[in-house]
Subunit: 161 residues, 4 copies
Amino acid sequence: MFIRFITTGGTIDKIYFDALSQFEVGDSPVDTILGEGLVSFDYDVVSLFRKDSLELTDADRTALREFIEADDAGRYVISHGTDTMVETAAVLAAIENKRMVLTGALSPARFKTTDAVFNVGMAVAAVQLVDPGVYIAMNGQVFRADQVRKNREENRFELIE
Amino acid sequence: MFIRFITTGGTIDKIYFDALSQFEVGDSPVDTILGEGLVSFDYDVVSLFRKDSLELTDADRTALREFIEADDAGRYVISHGTDTMVETAAVLAAIENKRMVLTGALSPARFKTTDAVFNVGMAVAAVQLVDPGVYIAMNGQVFRADQVRKNREENRFELIE
Amino acid sequence: MFIRFITTGGTIDKIYFDALSQFEVGDSPVDTILGEGLVSFDYDVVSLFRKDSLELTDADRTALREFIEADDAGRYVISHGTDTMVETAAVLAAIENKRMVLTGALSPARFKTTDAVFNVGMAVAAVQLVDPGVYIAMNGQVFRADQVRKNREENRFELIE
Amino acid sequence: MFIRFITTGGTIDKIYFDALSQFEVGDSPVDTILGEGLVSFDYDVVSLFRKDSLELTDADRTALREFIEADDAGRYVISHGTDTMVETAAVLAAIENKRMVLTGALSPARFKTTDAVFNVGMAVAAVQLVDPGVYIAMNGQVFRADQVRKNREENRFELIE
């Protein structure tokens, strides 16, 4: 089994900046998480964007869709900011015969307390088990991408009723 | 969706003891992991055993099978020591019409670096997506329980070829 | 022994905000750090400000000095942003017969990797051992407050030569 | 300033072993802790023993004393198991004109929740500030080594009254 991970930025990836100084951590959180997860499948990690998902443009989403369409893998885990994860998923729905699971985090992977590790674990399992299509793995659930929304007041993903 | 978590001990659950003193942590690691994962489904956690899996007996495995058969849930995540996870899975294979995913950890959940969070994330996603039966989620993969073994030299789970 | 902890904000205390959502953690990092440090002395924690140290005003520094002068404790650990820690220390130098150690962090206490715990440990030891006066505990060293500066290019504190 | 760190084993250093498999982590916890503490002084780390402190013998303690006597440094932080830390300190009391601070941890440095980082921070500050002699930094306090005991029921260090 091979999984291609695509990182696009968002909270999961957040690096801390203060007013006068800044620092970055070398590895992407996804690499670190897969290392801690002791995964034994083949994978690579492609960094396409480093943006808050509110700043992702239509052109960015098209670029992501075209990247996946032109790519030779069959399974993708896409880390993404939570605010527009559903919008990006809708664009990817045009892709046929591939399994794509979007995930992210409500608190950064670099925090002591974060949902990032759990969520990437969910996405990795889901992308092995689902039929082709686009899914969102957040808040302990694997949603079909067209059946979920982010409830911003509650800061969680939920089924559209 | 409702998931019943059953803990049986094993490395994931390991609490530290030294020669002259000891301490325990109140919450089970599974509760802590689900809290950090910000899960929004309904669940409970039942603690059946607190044993290294090498110490689990046939009677223990029968008790686990009977517990699940008599229980009204449809989806189970079972945390278990890794050394005999496959043996326990074989006993559970007799249960019909339920989804059971066993997982555990190669380093304890209380360690700074652990595969426990990732693995529970995988198990939670898997138990939502699989057909009825018994599965093992370890090392980044969701295995059918009758197609996997623990390679002790490499300290990882792998497909039986 | 009694130590009064005063928190003023800064990186050590940083809570994460994103564009559309926000969350706060209940305990102050100093409380959490002292709990993990298993400290057995008496203490309390007073929160005076919650500011980046670049935003602390002369009036804030005067208020801090007056608070300590009017207070009945003899030993203070003051958590503070790093950018103006030296300026605040200079204002506190007017206080007689008290031991004051400022500390902070170059990465937030809520990060997996942070200097906050180590630094508070240093400050707690220092405030027990120093003569009355003002000190800064950062980067593994306990500096007299009038002999140290923050080197912003290197992002660390160093002796004034 | 130069500090020589000497590791002797104990809980702070504990590596996890289970019945059938084992793993070790490359760096000693002390190196990792000093890295996270962003320390800027010069130091090295010498590993003398890897033992539970209950297993340290008189010969080990003599070897430690002779190592320090023959060594050219002036400041030592010695990580040590807690059960016989006081006994080792008594042996080191024969050494003149050097500053020695023993510390350790009541839960292992590799745990998510540990007092190891806080304690090493305390020891590093203390060894810069004390007069020559032997000290123990545990439970938020810097004790003279001949004025402290471990209370095993309470699992903490306390002044001898």
